[in-house]
Symmetry: C2
């Protein structure tokens, strides 16, 4: 029987992480998100904040080079970047090999392509994402709307950059996902049965072709 | 209680029409697709093929004009185009006012915006769409792969044009839809329970805010 891997890519503030967690609980399978960063940090001896920056926000510098007679832009990899990306990829394969799971972020949809994961994308309107971020703001923490929107845009553009780097395809382009869920104005919890049903169809469809 | 309107936009060959029909059957509500063209033809006295061209494929000519000091491109409307678009919009409002329904195509998501319809977008990989078109080819009819792909691209670009004309937003841009379903390699029938569950969440979410 095939391993069932579900990846969740999401816009910041869309509730994608909650959706991933609840879906894993409903299916009774493993869930990975920040655990991956912690494990990579332990293994590589680098700080978690650094791992997070590389693994979720991409590599900030690019070099123009001439490749096959065309001017191309490639990321300015340092040895440490490569170490982090390599360790993260190794870890994702190890986790996927071990048991069915839901993985949020980390470009798992690209890195684990050979497992035929079900790839979900979770998104929402800007206003809805601002509201969701406000609702989970910690006491004492307060961003203005403008700050919050700038931060959201920064995080998402980092995710987009990382995805292009790893997967070669455009982050958020629906062609790369099996189901794109707009959470604008919706609670996450009641959505789980629908996503679970879709996941079952997807894995049955894949299995019947194996 | 709110009227429940579900609109289905779809790439040609993605199975969106079948999904709309099956969903309407599962929910026990009305389903409209070609019926709309037939009704507009009867009402306007114009040929169905002409209505179809205008209403699904957009208006082929554009004029550049200066509007608010900016050079802009507007569609070259004829009186007949306007008549068709007007009659179609009137008819969609009439149908939506009458009962809950599923409407495939016709930019119903834009035209019926005030009903807060659930907007679905159905898509698939090119290979999958070609396979689906082949499976429903009529006896005696045979397109080469190249012809089929050209025809699919023509139809979809017409749909995109019509949508931009009517709704001002980009056809297929996930932000305009509540759920985007990739049917690549999947049967349509088993997907219906998942879509039905999602629809229930959506209408509950909307209703709780009314």
């Amino acid at each position: 029987m095939m391993r069932k891997i579900i990846t969740v890519s999401r816009e910041f503030g869309s509730g994608g992480r909650e959706l991933g967690k609840r879906l894993a609980d409903a299916l009774g399978i493993a869930y990975y998100d920040r655990e991956i960063i912690t494990a990579v940090a332990e293994k590589s001896g680098l700080a978690e904040s650094y791992i997070e920056q590389v693994s979720e926000r991409g590599v900030p510098m690019y070099y123009p080079i001439t490749y096959a007679r065309t001017l191309t832009v490639v990321p300015a990899f340092s040895g440490q970047h490569i170490k982090v990306l390599h360790e993260q990829s190794r870890l994702l394969h190890e986790l996927a090999g071990k048991s069915d799971c839901v993985i949020v972020g980390r470009c798992a949809d690209c890195i684990l392509r050979e497992y035929h994961p079900l790839n979900l994308f979770v998104y929402a309107s800007l206003e809805s994402k601002v509201r969701r971020c406000r609702a989970r703001e910690e006491a004492g923490e307060h961003f203005t709307d403008k700050e919050l929107k700038r931060r959201m845009a920064q995080i998402d553009s980092g995710r987009a950059r990382y995805r292009e780097l790893i997967g070669g395809s455009k982050w958020g382009d629906k062609a790369a996902y099996h189901l794109c869920i707009n959470t604008t104005g919706l609670e996450i919890k009641p959505l789980i049965p629908a996503v679970r049903e879709f996941a079952a169809c997807y894995f049955e469809g894949i299995e019947s072709k194996e």
